[in-house]
Structures are given as structure tokens and as C-alpha cells.
């Protein structure tokens, strides 16, 4: 196992580096970084025997082969305006460039009262006590070496604090751009911390985009706390360039009566992995995770979910759909745990994949772990190609083969995209799906 990454000076010397990083004078933060780095060093990069990366360790092997330079050392990237690859979206905006807050691209002026959106680094400098016990409190490093590495270097990101009862009028757009300032492959670790206070309601759109022709490694780590009766809608869109690697970790805790509703659209990039862990920690809590992904060329997309029902009366659902073209490979691992005593749990999961080429591959591992009897849990998984009869139906009505196929693929994905409630965001997502199909047509 070659872990070149751990030999990068900044990783091995990270403890010495800690004072230089934002909040380096804070013992609790230094302790957190050290613990995370120790967890990373102990696990190393995923290998053949790492069960959680069974289908993705090989694709992620490139991480160990290239000398990724942390953005902190690589130098400042500059960007005048938001790139076109990013969904044009009218809303409150915070932009991170290689994980660091970019004020000139952000727009936080019109945020309503009770909503605080702060760059992590500046909050650490001014009021670190507000983050103590919150930052790093949710993420677990077991089987998440990348989240451990990112946490060991945590420097900047976005902190969203919603006071009890607040309602955000328009969605908040959090943008993370990865871009190499020089020639060396760059690594960034944008951090996201959301605390939705009791009874608050908000919609957040999280966009990730990598630019340029050099390899980039983005390691976003998100920690989200949904307090009692809060309702948080969280849409993530990733639309990367061909050389981008994206390994994201998200940990969500939903308290009594809270609702966490998430959607993810994954497009482009070389390798993408999304680890999402949700704990339904209070009764009547709900979590709904939906998503769509489309891979072509040699793209590799992995979604790994752990839905943990810790207490009774929780409800969860997952619907993921994937389209695999060319040599594209999709991975979906979804685990639903019902802990002892978590009676009256309702947990559902569905994954469907469409294989469009002889060389495409999909690997699915849905998992149920149940320790309570009075529950309703199920999962379903299906893979196959486009339905011949549906294709025939459309062709018989005068559509040419390519258009008919596209229409069916679009319909397949739109089925989940339509679950997104916010009209503006749904329109953006549908547009991206359409653009993906059009781009594919051009190649063909």
C-alpha cells in the first residue's frame, strides 16, 4: 500500500503546522486535528480489504499515486467571476475557493434576521467558543479515512446557524470551487457546518465544481444538526471537470420531530464518493435522501449511505437512480440500521440503475441491520437496460432512436429530480440532466 499522501510534509508535520492554521491557538481544535490525523494514519488509504471501499478503492488508488498539495501550500487560486459550469441561481450566496472563503464572489447581504452564515476561519478567529463542542462533534472517522484527513487539516468553510423558529425566504447557495493555482494537483477540504435551530425552516443548495485540466482532490466534510421540529432541505449538485476527484463526507443528526430532506445530483469528474451518515436521534424524526447520478467515459461514482434509526417512530426513505454510459461505473451502498428498541421504524430504500453500454458496470450493496421487531423495512434494487417495448413505442410514434433513448433516460432520472420541492432548484437540476444528455449526443 503506497500512502504517498501521508508522506506529504504537511500531513506528517501537521501537528507542527497546527498553530499556523486558523484557530491554531485553541487546544480543543488542535486536539481535534491531531485525533483526526491519527485516525487517518492508522487507517491509511482504502485498500482491497477495506469493506467500505470494496468497489471504489481501486478508482481512488490515484490519490495515493499523485502528490496532492494542500491548497494552503499550493498558494492562492484566483477567480474573477463564477464559472459557467456552476448552476446559475438567484439566492443568498457563499463561495469557497479551494475551501477558503472568497468574499468577492459571495453575497450575504440580504440574509434575514436569525440566520447567520459565517466563514469558518473568521468565526474561529473571532468567536471560537461558539464552535467548541459543535465542530467535529458529529463526524466519525471509522471507515472514513478521507474525512479524517480533511479534519486533520480543517481550516476554512461555511458555518450556517439558524436561530430557533427562523425561516429563510430564498435558498442559500453554498458554492465550493476547486482549482489548481499552479501545475501541481491541489487538495482542498471545504468544511460545512449547519445547525438548524428548533422549528426553523431552510433550503440549502450546495454546489461543487472543479475547474481546469489538472487533477484536483476535494474532500468536503459536512456536519449537520437538525434540532427538534426543524425542517432542512439540502440539495447537493456536483458538476466536475474530467480530472476531478471528490470524496465527500456528510454526517447528519436529526432530533425529535425534525425533518432532513436531501437530494444529490452527481455529474462529471473522474471519481466521486459520497459518504452520508444520518442518525435519527429523536422520535418522529424523518430523513429522506434521494439522488441521481450519470457517469460516462471512465467516470466512477459511489454513494454510500448509513441510515441509523436510533430511537422509535423514525421514518426514512432513500431513492437513488443512476445512468451508466461508456465505461462508467456506479456504486451504491446503502445501509439501514434499526437499533434495539427503535420500534415502529419505517425505513425504505430503492436503487435503480440503467446500463447503457457493454462496458458499464454497477455494483449495489443494500443492507438491512435490524434489531427491533415491530418495524417496516425494505430495500429494492434493480439494474438493467432501457425497456425495448418503451423504445419501440416511441419509435413507432416517429422519434428517431437517439431521441427516443434520451427521452427515456431523461424520464428515468426526472422521476427522482421531481421529488425536489423548490421550483427554482428543480429547474436547475432538470437543466443539468438535459445538458448531460445533449453533451453525450454530441460525442456520439
Amino acid at each position: 500500500m503506497s500512502v504517498v499522501l501521508s508522506e506529504i510534509p504537511v500531513v506528517t508535520a501537521a501537528t507542527g503546522l497546527s498553530p499556523v492554521l486558523p484557530g491554531g491557538h485553541l487546544p480543543w481544535l488542535t486536539g481535534l486535528r491531531q485525533a483526526a490525523l491519527a485516525a487517518f494514519q492508522q487507517q491509511g488509504l482504502p485498500h482491497r480489504r477495506t469493506e467500505a471501499f470494496k468497489y471504489s478503492f481501486a478508482a481512488l488508488g490515484v490519490v495515493g499515486k499523485l502528490d496532492f498539495v494542500p491548497a494552503l501550500i499550493a498558494g492562492d487560486a484566483t477567480l474573477e467571476a463564477l464559472p459557467a459550469a456552476l448552476p446559475a441561481f438567484d439566492g443568498h450566496k457563499v463561495v469557497l475557493l479551494n475551501g477558503s472563503y472568497a468574499p468577492h464572489l459571495s453575497d450575504r447581504a440580504a440574509l434575514p434576521a436569525g440566520v447567520e452564515v459565517q466563514p469558518l476561519a473568521s468565526l474561529l478567529a473571532r468567536q471560537p467558543e461558539r464552535l467548541e463542542g459543535l465542530l467535529g462533534s458529529l463526524v466519525q472517522y471509522d471507515e472514513q479515512p478521507f474525512a479524517a484527513l480533511a479534519s486533520g487539516l480543517v481550516d476554512d468553510g461555511v458555518v450556517v446557524l439558524l436561530e430557533a423558529g427562523t425561516v429563510i425566504d430564498r435558498p442559500l447557495h453554498i458554492v465550493s470551487i476547486t482549482l489548481t493555482p499552479g501545475d501541481a494537483p491541489v487538495m482542498a477540504q471545504p468544511r460545512l457546518l449547519i445547525k438548524a435551530g428548533a422549528g426553523s425552516t431552510a433550503t440549502i443548495l450546495e454546489s461543487h465544481v472543479a475547474l481546469g485540466e489538472t487533477e484536483t482532490l476535494s474532500l468536503p466534510v459536512a456536519e449537520i444538526l437538525v434540532e427538534p421540529n426543524a425542517r432542512l432541505t439540502h440539495v447537493k449538485v456536483r458538476n466536475d471537470t474530467a480530472r476531478a476527484l471528490h470524496v465527500a463526507s456528510r454526517t447528519v443528526k436529526v432530533l425529535a420531530g425534525g425533518i432532513y430532506q436531501a437530494f444529490a445530483l452527481s455529474l462529471g469528474g473522474a471519481v466521486a464518493r459520497d459518504d452520508i451518515a444520518v442518525e435519527l436521534a429523536g422520535e418522529q424524526a424523518e430523513a429522506h435522501l434521494n439522488g441521481a447520478y450519470a457517469a460516462r467515459d471512465y467516470q466512477h461514482m459511489d454513494t454510500t449511505i448509513h441510515m441509523d434509526h436510533a430511537v422509535p417512530n423514525g421514518r426514512s426513505s432513500q431513492v437513488y437512480k443512476g445512468v451508466l454510459a461508456d465505461h462508467g461505473r456506479g456504486v451504491f451502498q446503502g445501509k439501514v440500521t434499526v437499533r434495539k428498541g427503535a420500534q415502529h421504524t419505517d425505513g425504505q430504500q430503492l436503487h435503480k440503475a440503467l446500463l447503457l453500454s457493454e462496458s458499464a458496470e454497477v455494483d449495489v450493496k443494500p443492507e438491512l441491520k435490524i434489531y427491533a421487531d415491530d418495524v417496516t423495512c425494505s430495500h429494492g434494487a434493480a439494474c438493467g437496460e432501457l425497456d425495448d417495448e418503451a423504445l419501440f413505442y416511441l419509435r413507432a410514434r416517429g422519434l428517431d432512436e437517439a431521441t427516443a433513448r434520451d427521452l427515456l433516460i431523461e424520464g428515468f432520472l426526472d422521476d427522482v429530480v421531481e421529488q425536489v420541492e423548490n421550483d427554482a432548484i428543480r429547474t436547475v437540476l432538470a437543466g443539468l440532466v438535459r445538458a448531460w444528455l445533449d453533451a453525450r449526443q454530441e460525442v456520439a
Binding site: 434495539k340 457493454e358 455494483d363 450493496k365 438491512l368 435490524i370 421487531d373 418495524v375 434494487a381 437496460e385
Partner: protein
Amino acid sequence: MVATESTIQTVKDIERYKYGFETDIESDRAPKGLSEDIVRFISAKKEEPEWMLEWRLKAYRHWLTMEEPQWASLHYPPIDYQDSYYYAAPKRREDGPKSLDEVDPELLATYEKLGIPLKEQEALAGVAVDAVFDSVSVATTYKKKLNDLGVIFCSISEAIREHPELVQKYLGSVVPQADNFFSCLNSAVFTDGSFVYIPKGLRCPMELSTYFRINEKNTGQFERTLIIADEGAYVSYLEGCTAPQRDENQLHAAVVELVTLDDAEIKYSTVQNWYPGDENGKGGIYNFVTKRAACRGRNSKVMWTQVETGSAITWKYPSCILQGDGSVGEFYSVAITNNRQQADTGTKMIHLGKNTRSKIISKGISAGRSEQTYRGQVRIAAKASGARNFTQCDSLLIGDQCGAHTVPYIESRNPSARTEHEATASRISDDQLFYCMQRGLSAEEAVGLIVNGFCKEVLQTLPMEFAVEAQKLVNISLEGSVG
């Protein structure tokens, strides 16, 4: 009063020990532990040819380099492989009980519930039967008939001596020696098992069963079974029986290999009811089984059916490698765990040939404090155009202290292949129970009825007589889990 009861219990326990199933440790048993010498000893005892010994030694040497797998969700104390006997000569008849009167009444009560005929009860309990018991002669009659048809049905040791060319060609060709830790151990020390060869075009007229051989030898701790169905042949093979079986060996590691050539079909049915340990999880058999079928020929078919109710630990994944175009693999399973039992079982369907089809129906019932896992894999290789898989895994939980888990792996590399997977977990609804009980059934009878309905899809694939017994077995296994 309490003291009197405990005395009675002690006496009973002594009796049980006396008339139980312990064999005296005599000279016909190899010393404890495992070494090359023991492997040589076993091979010599079995009067095996040199190539067989070499084969065993190769497996043993490789086994030394292997590590026991830890991935299954099973918890058991570490097994000391040097603390077991690897060879014991068959029990002598005079060691067994002289008549049913000497047999543990609890065991007899169970036989009664299963509706097992008296003669068979004697055989199962290990009663030293003489001319009275005619199953020996029945078996002999059967054997002659099979012989005339060209069917080879004998113990694996006999096959090694009599049909070396077939054994050499097929042994280890489906489950290679180094396949896994337990199969490798088995390859080194197996002492018994069955060998079946069905010649071309023959539809074996009767169901073959280890049962026929029960009086010849004790089924060993490390069984090795090899079944070959030549072109166009068909055989239905039954393993085990519904009656609870006692065995002083705690560790079992069997290997079963099936081979089907063009248009051949093997139907392999298992009912496993080894001693599960007491309600506190003390004792009980550890059952680590490797079962695999190679559907080598075009349009060949293998159907695994299993009813797993016994053993403290079950580790078993009967699988099909669908190599031949158009071959079919089916897996039907009912697993019931109660008290402290743990089962990690499932199947693998590896689609290599075109238009191969597989179907998996798994029904798991957990009660008491037991833990059960369905672990399965469906793999569609790039060349398996038109492959088709359907999987359904249902778990039923009885009580809030048990666990039911489902861990399927689905890997698809061919766009024209279709895979479907469904899994559910639920409990018996109060409505169903109420409905049954309102019609006069006791809670236990109602649960039995509902569970039998839940398993029906699997049970009906069993041969008829077996199915009837299995249904009763389902009820018995769940005794004490409700009310």
C-alpha cells in the same frame, strides 16, 4: 422440595450422559490435534492411494498459511484447532442404546411430533438395530437397482478407491482446496461423505439420500460430497433429516461440490437440524459449510433448497457458478434461529454464460435472542448477455431481542442483464395473530401457521415427504418463542 427436584434432574442428566451419544475413547481414535501425521493417519486408515494423500497434504500445508475469516456477523469464542479429534473410527453398534426405552424421552417426543416412523426413530437415535430393522435390506435393494442403471452412489472413500478417474477429475474442481479457510481444512482431513455419478441421459428414478447410508457409517465431522450429473442426467439428492441429530463434535466443516454438464439437473435439498445448544447458548454445533455448484453445461440446472433450523453457528452459502449458456441456478432457503443461535447464510450466483438465469428466495425467521444474516452475491459478468436474476429476501422477527440482517451484493457488468432485488423485514402482525386465535388456535399454533405460510414458497420446493416433516419442524423450532 427444590432439593428433591434438583436430585431428580441430576439423575436424569447422568442417565442422559449414560445413554446419550458419547462414544468411548478407544484406540480407534487418532490423538487430539492436527498435524501432517494426522493427515497421513487419516489417509492410511482410509486406504487411500498416494495421489490422494498428496492432495490432502497440499491442502493442509496451505491451510497453515490461512487465517480464519472474520467477516461474517457471527460471534463465537476462538476455535482451538489443536483441541479436536480429526479421526474416529465408526461407532460400534454395541455402544449405542439397546432399545428406544433407553433413549432420552425428550428426543423421542420430538420424533413423535415430527411423525417419524418407529423404525426410523431407532435408526436416528443410534439404536443398535439388527435384522429387525429392515432399512438395511431396503437400502441394499435400492443399491442394486441403482447399480444396474449405472448410477454410482457410494461413500467418497469408496469412490477414491473404486473410481479414481472421476474423483481426480472433479474433486476440488468446484471448490478448490485453497478456496477458503474451512474448505481448505476439510480438504486436508475429510473422512466421509457421498459420491454420486449419474450417467448420460439418465433420470435417476429415486431420490438419493445420505439416509440410506446411515447404518453403514456415522456421518463424519468433515463431510465431503461430490455429485456429478452427466449430460442430460437428473438427480434429486437429500441431505440430513428433520430429526434432531446429536453429535459430540462441535466443529463441522463440510464441503459439497456439484457438477452439471449439458442439459443436466441436480436438485439438492438439505434439512439441517444439528444440536443448537441450550437456551443460554451453551454448547451446540458450529457448522461451517462450503457448498457450490458448477453449471458447466448448456441449459444445465442446479436447485439448492435448504431448511436450516439447527446449529449454534451456521456459516453457509450454497452457490452456483453459471458457466454454461442458458444454465439456471436456484436457491430456496428457510432459516430459523431461536434462543442464542446465529446464522450467517445466503448464496452466490455467478453469471458467466449467456442467458443464464438465477432465482433466490430466502426466508429468515429470528426469534429469542438469535441473530441472523442473509449474505448473498449476484454477479453478472460482462459476457453474460441476457442474464436474469430475481432475489427476494424476507425476514420475520419474533420478539424484540433478536436481530435480522440482509447484506446482498449485486454486481452487474452487462447492459442486457437484468437483476432485481427485494428485501423486507417485518414481524407477525397482531391482526394476523388475532384472526387465527379468534378461530380457536393457540398463540403458538397461530405463529406456526403464519410462519409456515411465510416459508411456503421454499417448503414446497422440497420433495413431498420431506416437506411435510419440514413444516412440522418449523413449528417445533419456534416453540417457546411466543406467549
